[in-house]
Symmetry: C2
Subunit: 179 residues, 2 copies
């Protein structure tokens, strides 16, 4: 298929966690179009499962939405870092629990129309108490919740974060006993 | 909770489907931080269910990933448009089928760390043949697929689009007979 060919990518602005580009695309109909492109360095996320089957969720402020969200623990990759290593690191930093039993669940491209962000998502079991280690400007609350309650919140649009919806439903569909 | 207060939002660049801002945030520890913010006008998406229980998927080029993706039909909102109206419109434009039986499924914030994009996702049944109406520079293939096959592709990381993963798993969890 050759309906589209990218013939240019020009930096418009370097941000802190993303960079903004304009792509130039040659279309099969002969047109040349300019499309937005946001470069993101990737992220890792984790579904932390407690011994009694609850999931550890984090509550934090999101300036893009100007509100607090309930999400699975997640964070940006360090340069050269593996998704699984990053997921284990973010688990410990954000929740104060660590695990050496991480299993791959899914990969998510968050918003394919304009951004290359990819999140590697893992399930973590056998959680062991450690220490929360937040960044200087990071405030995060941790809460253990039932899978069924989380699913209800998804259908009531009380949980809207895409990686969190994908991860919880993928975990439930794969691992939780069918009703 | 008042760990964060947004005290500024400055436009950096107006794009075609997104605009780039820098937010200024006052943190409870006394710091002032500058965080990225991408303004997006929202989108609607649809899980189109055929009479024999398959889902209509679209395959299209995504410049941000420089590859073709398999996604549920979706598109940006027109100004003042309702999510359900937009979902019905995108269904017909992208697949060539229309439906007057759309039911709310979930809402997705695609990437909460820097963007306010929200997608309203609906399930469409009783599909009736109409005409595909693509934009001038839009090339889209439509394919009907089994839910189980789509789920397998999610766990094999062959489907990675976030709204598509969330929507397919939310549809399956709510409507498809348990194994």
């Amino acid at each position: 298929m050759h309906e589209y060919k990218r013939i240019g990518r020009d930096l418009v602005y370097k941000g802190s966690i993303i960079d903004y580009y304009k792509d130039t695309i040659e279309v099969a109909n002969g047109n040349t179009v300019k499309w937005d492109f946001i470069d993101h360095h990737g992220a890792a996320a984790v579904v932390p499962v407690t011994d009694d089957g609850k999931l550890l969720m984090v509550r934090q402020y999101r300036n893009a939405l100007d509100r607090y969200t309930l999400e699975i623990p997640a964070g940006g990759m360090n340069p050269g870092e593996d998704y699984k290593v990053a997921a284990a690191r973010e688990l410990e930093e954000e929740t104060g629990y660590k695990s050496d039993e991480l299993e791959f669940l899914i990969k998510v491209n968050t918003t394919v129309a304009f951004c290359n962000e990819e999140i590697g998502i893992y399930v973590a079991r056998n959680l062991v108490k450690s220490e929360q280690r937040l960044d200087e400007d990071e405030y995060i609350d941790v809460v253990a919740m039932d899978v069924e309650e989380l699913c209800n919140m998804i259908y009531e649009a009380k949980i809207k974060d895409g990686k969190t919806i994908s991860a919880i439903l993928a975990y439930k569909n794969k691992y939780v006993e069918k009703n």
